[in-house]
Structure formats: structure tokens, C-alpha cells
């Protein structure tokens, strides 16, 4: 081999349980509203998909302010799922996303199983690409509502949503890292019919304002996000991939760069969401996508799919993969 072969362009296509995406970078629920604001910085159609802020049945005010506290390499939020409700979403936001060519993952949230079911039914005929079931938002009045902390409650919601939703639309369960054994919860929602798993939601946290001598957030506790939680998120993706290896995973938690995203992919994620990084860099999702493609090319991957779960392979298997690839490339 005289000259090194020209670096091939990486095939970035991926799929999430039958939902085909041109690339594996999505927004994260609650960090992109319904896409409109980010369209000032890049075309929403350039992303794998837009994941909407969690939609609920009724308009919801959210919690009182202050709703945010900056923390080391992260932030704590207690928004409390402020949103206009499903009617307004279907009338205003979904048509806008469609008109702008975005693939749409609708995040749904509910106070009880019936609310999730009615949301899945409302979305049935709207031709959305995927449903992400937010059973893990920590900003609810009653921590008992965090379905994802209880295997039976989580399974009940997912099974009901799977039965109610359009069978052509994949249903992903969004899990919380605040559990003893996330692999166990993952198996429970898989048995209940989840087509895939999104992970992780924020970690429950708290900041106390030492001058005011009171909790810094109006909602007292909040959800921790940003690079501070990335190692927890990568660990969860790794464990869940081991627990349910056949299930596609949408990984998220503190992704700021393409190399960060690659950790999730190597751990087993078929796609990633970029969330809090958007608050720092509104163009973060498209930048992460470009960086991820470079990182893959630099390591000799010809396609994104080859890299999914790659860190689970033994060193010998990895060496064999690259040996075979170099033969293919030079052939």
C-alpha cells in the first residue's frame, strides 16, 4: 500500500427501531423547545430528529422561579414541565416542524397512566416518527410519579402506551439514573413492549443559597444536567446495553463534543441527544454531528453503525474488525 487510501466519508445513517435517521444526532427533550428557536442557528432538518419538550394533556404553568442554578460543569433546573398542552402542540408546533422538514420525536409526560395513553392516542394519526415516554422527570410534586424509579409502574405505563400508540411508531422509554439497578428497569420496560430506551434523564439534585440560607430553587430540588453527569450517563448506557443488547438506545447526558458523543456510541447508543450544551452553544447539535463524523473517520470507521457498542468488543475482536476493514478499503 503506497499512499494511504483517501479517508472515506462516513455513512452516518442510523435507525431507532425502524425509524430511519440520516444521522445519529438529535436534540434532547426540554433543551430545544419545539425546534423553532434553534432554527435561527441551523436548519432543524439537518438533525437526525428534533425531540420535543415533553407534551402533556393540558396546558401547564410549571414551577415558580428561581428555576435554575448553575453548578460545576452543569446546571440544576426545576422547570416543572411548563408547556402549552397537546392541543396547542398539534395545532402550532407539529405543523411548523413538518413544514421545516424535521423528523419529529414527541416526548410525552403524564401524571398517571391514562394521561400517557390519551397522549399516545392523540398522536396516532399525526405521522410522527417516534414517541419518547418521559417517565423520569424529577420535577414533579410527588416523587412517586417518577414511574422510572419503579419497575412495575414503569412497565405499566410503557405497556399501555405501546398498545395505544400507532404500531408503526416506535415507543422509547426514557429512564432515570436515580435507581439502584438501571438494567433491571430496562428489562422491565423491554418486557412491557418498549421498542427502545432513551437514557438518561437528569439526576435529582439540590443547591442551597448560603446567603439566603434557603434552597436556591423555587421547586427546592431540581434536575442536574450537563457534562457533570456524563460519566453517569455513559455508565447507564453501558449497563443497559449489556442488559438488553438487542434494543436500540438513544444516549444523552452532558454531550458537548463529538468525542463525548462517541463515548455513548461505543457504550451502545444507536443515536445521541444533545441537551444542555445548547444553552452554551445554540449550534451544538450540528457541531457535535460534524465532530462525530470526523472522530469516526479518524478511527477508521466507514459507517456510524459499525461503532455502536464497539467498546463492548474485546481487543482481539476490535483488532480483527480493523484488519478486515483495511483489507476491504484497499481492495
Amino acid at each position: 500500500m503506497a499512499a494511504p487510501p483517501q479517508r472515506p466519508k462516513v455513512d452516518m445513517r442510523t435507525s431507532l427501531a425502524g425509524f430511519e435517521l440520516p444521522n445519529p444526532v438529535l436534540t434532547a427533550s426540554g433543551c430545544a423547545a419545539s425546534g423553532r428557536e434553534l432554527d435561527q442557528f441551523f436548519g432543524v432538518a439537518e438533525l437526525g430528529a428534533v425531540v420535543t419538550k415533553s407534551i402533556m394533556s393540558r396546558p401547564r404553568s410549571g414551577r415558580p422561579t428561581p428555576r435554575m442554578a448553575e453548578t460545576p460543569s452543569g446546571m440544576l433546573n426545576s422547570i416543572g414541565l411548563q408547556g402549552p398542552g397537546i392541543d396547542s402542540f398539534l395545532a402550532n408546533d407539529l405543523p411548523w416542524l413538518r413544514a421545516h422538514g424535521a423528523r419529529v420525536v414527541v416526548s410525552i409526560a403524564g401524571g398517571h397512566t391514562d394521561e400517557f395513553v390519551s397522549l399516545a392516542k392523540r398522536l396516532y394519526h399525526h405521522g410522527i416518527d417516534m414517541i419518547e415516554v418521559n417517565i423520569s422527570c424529577p420535577n414533579v410534586e410527588n416523587r412517586g410519579q417518577v414511574f422510572a424509579c419503579d419497575a412495575i409502574a414503569a412497565a405499566r405505563v410503557i405497556s399501555a402506551v405501546r398498545r395505544a400508540a400507532n404500531p408503526n411508531v416506535p415507543v422509547f422509554a426514557k429512564l432515570s439514573p436515580d435507581v439502584t439497578d438501571i438494567g433491571y428497569i430496562a428489562r422491565a420496560v423491554t418486557d412491557a413492549g418498549a421498542d427502545g430506551i432513551s437514557l438518561i434523564n437528569t439526576l435529582l439534585g439540590m443547591v442551597i443559597d448560603v446567603d439566603a440560607m434557603r434552597p436556591a430553587l423555587g421547586g427546592v430540588t431540581g434536575g442536574l444536567s450537563g457534562p457533570a453527569i456524563r460519566p453517569v450517563a455513559v455508565r447507564c448506557v453501558w449497563q443497559v446495553h449489556k442488559s438488553v443488547p438487542h434494543l436500540p438506545l438513544l444516549g444523552m447526558g452532558g454531550i458537548k463534543t463529538g468525542a463525548d458523543a462517541l463515548q455513548f456510541v461505543f457504550a451502545g447508543a444507536s443515536a445521541v441527544s444533545v441537551g444542555t450544551a445548547v444553552f452554551h452553544d445554540p449550534s451544538a447539535p450540528v457541531r457535535v454531528l460534524a465532530e462525530l463524523e470526523n472522530e469516526l473517520a479518524r478511527r477508521g470507521f466507514g459507517s456510524f453503525r459499525e461503532a455502536i457498542g464497539f467498546a463492548h468488543r474485546s481487543p482481539a475482536e476490535q483488532a480483527e474488525f480493523f484488519a478486515r476493514r483495511s483489507v476491504e478499503v484497499s481492495a
Binding site: 426540554g30 401547564r60 422561579t65 428555576r67 411548563q82 410534586e141 410519579q145 444553552f279
Partner: protein, 293 residues
């Protein structure tokens, strides 16, 4: 460096070069070469500045009201903003040197609405809240409005923009709570006589929230509107995070939590439910859905 693709308020993300840093009392004034932000600016809008450098642990941008914007040509546009040190992020910012580059997103937010025709107006600035009122005054004067300005602060070192305002308007009333500059008292104290003297039709204000509430009260007592720019903690500044909300009464009479970064920072003072900031009023749109079930 992503440029906006369309829209009525084009927002840009660009690296600006610090052209000048000047200290005014407790404040640090930055002049930054940022043609993209400068080009689309209108008074009342702000810029969101990344702090701490590329590997920072401080994720959130700091937002500052814009003033002294010189659109210039494509390559010479400058912006100015004023920084008061509040914590580690603003501390990093004021230690930057001329020539350093800042990561900027702007101009952001809804600008001050302008009167349809030339009418007398009173401008009221508290602390560095005077900053966005300077370009507003310029615009109003250019429209032919008669402008009077009141500039106040707790103490002389916390005054800002007195000189700039004097240069622009000639007559500026200064107040300090402790009497260390101008007349002793609140910035709202000279408002009634100024409004009466001018026959003012609109009041514009910017400053801390209790002051804005008081400005609104004085305006209401004179049966004229007050347009005020608020300063609220923001995470994103671009409307996606929902942290900077305020309870605001809409034209339909219904109160909602609205974003001070997009629907604001300028609000009609009479629509903001100042007394309810930091609470969840039971009659707020969607509050009924918050009950713990």
C-alpha cells in the same frame, strides 16, 4: 459563527474582539467588535456572552443589555455593554484584556416599542440599568421626541451613564439613596414632576425589579404606560430553556409564565405581576395542572 437564516430579529453567534475596557465606578464597560450583533440591534435587546474560556466549567452564558452600538460597515460594527461583578463568571469577564475574543450570541430579546409619533417621554434608569436607555434616548431624540432622563442608584459608585445621558440630552436628574451624588432619594421621586412638566406620554425604565415595579406605579398614577426592561436569571437567552419566566398578564386578561428572554426583556410594567414573582399564582394559565396527584 452560525448566521441566522431568516427572521425579523436576526440573531448571530459570533466571536467578537474586545476593543476597549473602561471602568466606571463599580462597573466595567466593554466595547467589542461584533458586526453581526451590531447590525441588527435595536434598543432594549441584549447579548449573551460565554464566560470562562473554551474548557470552562461554567456552562451558562451571561446576558448584558446592549448600548452604544455602532453598526458601522460590515467589518467595523461595535457593541458596548456594562458588567457588574456578581460571581465567578462576571469576575472572569472583567479580567479579560483588550484584544481577547468573546463568544457572543445576539442581539436577543424584544426591543423597546417606539411611539408612533414624536411624544414627550421620561426615561428612568437604576444602576447599570441606564445602559439600554442611552441608545433608546438617541432613537427617540432622532424621532423628535422630547426626552427627559432620571438616573439613580444606591450610591455614587453604582451610578452609570450619567455622562453619556448628559451629553445626549443635556438635562439629567441624578438621585442616590444615600445622597452621595445628585439629590438624595429614590429614582422614582423626581418622576411625577418630570411627567407633569413634559406632559409625558410614555415612561421607559430599566433597573432592578422593585424599582421597575415602582416606576410602573408612578406611570399608572399618571395614566400613562411604562415600558420596562427586566433583568431575570437566564440559562439560554434564546427561548428554549424556560428558566427566565415571569408572571405576565396578557392582552386577553389571562396571566401566563412568559420568557423574559424572548417575549421580554421589555414588558409593559402594568402587565407584570410584580408581587407574584417567585410564586405560582393559582389563577396563572396552567397552574391548575400542577397539583400533586
Amino acid at each position: 459563527m452560525t448566521e441566522t437564516r431568516d427572521g425579523a430579529h436576526p440573531v448571530v453567534h459570533e466571536m467578537g474582539e474586545i476593543f476597549d475596557i473602561t471602568r466606571f465606578g463599580e462597573y466595567t464597560q466593554f466595547t467589542v467588535v461584533a458586526p453581526g450583533v451590531a447590525r441588527a440591534f435595536r434598543p432594549g435587546q441584549f447579548v449573551a456572552v460565554a464566560v470562562g474560556g473554551p474548557d470552562t466549567a461554567m456552562l451558562l452564558r451571561r446576558s448584558f443589555a446592549l448600548y452604544g452600538v455602532k453598526p458601522g460597515t460590515e467589518f467595523a460594527g461595535t457593541i458596548q455593554f456594562v458588567v457588574a461583578v456578581r460571581g465567578a463568571g462576571t469576575g472572569w469577564l472583567v479580567n479579560q484584556k483588550t484584544g481577547a475574543r468573546l463568544d457572543l450570541v445576539g442581539p436577543l430579546g424584544t426591543p423597546f416599542p417606539l411611539p408612533r409619533e414624536a411624544v414627550p417621554v421620561v426615561l428612568v434608569g437604576g444602576g447599570y440599568g441606564t445602559a439600554p436607555l442611552i441608545p433608546l434616548a438617541e432613537l427617540l431624540i432622532a424621532m423628535g421626541c422630547e426626552v427627559e432622563m432620571i438616573v439613580g442608584a444606591g450610591t455614587a459608585r453604582k451610578l452609570f451613564g450619567e455622562m453619556q445621558a448628559k451629553r445626549l440630552i443635556g438635562k439629567v436628574t441624578v438621585t442616590t439613596d444615600d445622597g452621595s451624588a445628585g439629590q438624595r432619594g429614590r429614582v422614582t421621586d423626581p418622576m411625577p414632576s418630570a411627567i407633569d412638566r413634559l406632559g409625558a406620554q410614555i415612561v421607559y425604565g430599566c433597573g432592578p425589579m422593585p424599582m421597575l415595579r415602582a416606576v410602573g406605579d408612578v406611570a399608572r398614577a399618571h395614566a400613562i404606560p411604562a415600558q420596562v426592561a427586566v433583568e431575570e436569571a437566564m440559562a439560554c437567552g434564546i427561548g428554549v430553556c424556560m428558566t427566565c419566566v415571569l408572571p405576565v398578564r396578557g392582552a386577553d386578561g389571562v396571566s401566563r409564565f412568559v420568557r423574559s428572554c424572548v417575549e421580554g426583556p421589555v414588558f409593559e410594567a402594568g402587565r407584570v405581576r410584580w408581587a407574584d414573582v417567585g410564586t405560582l399564582p393559582a389563577d396563572l394559565f396552567g397552574a391548575d395542572a400542577m397539583g400533586g396527584r
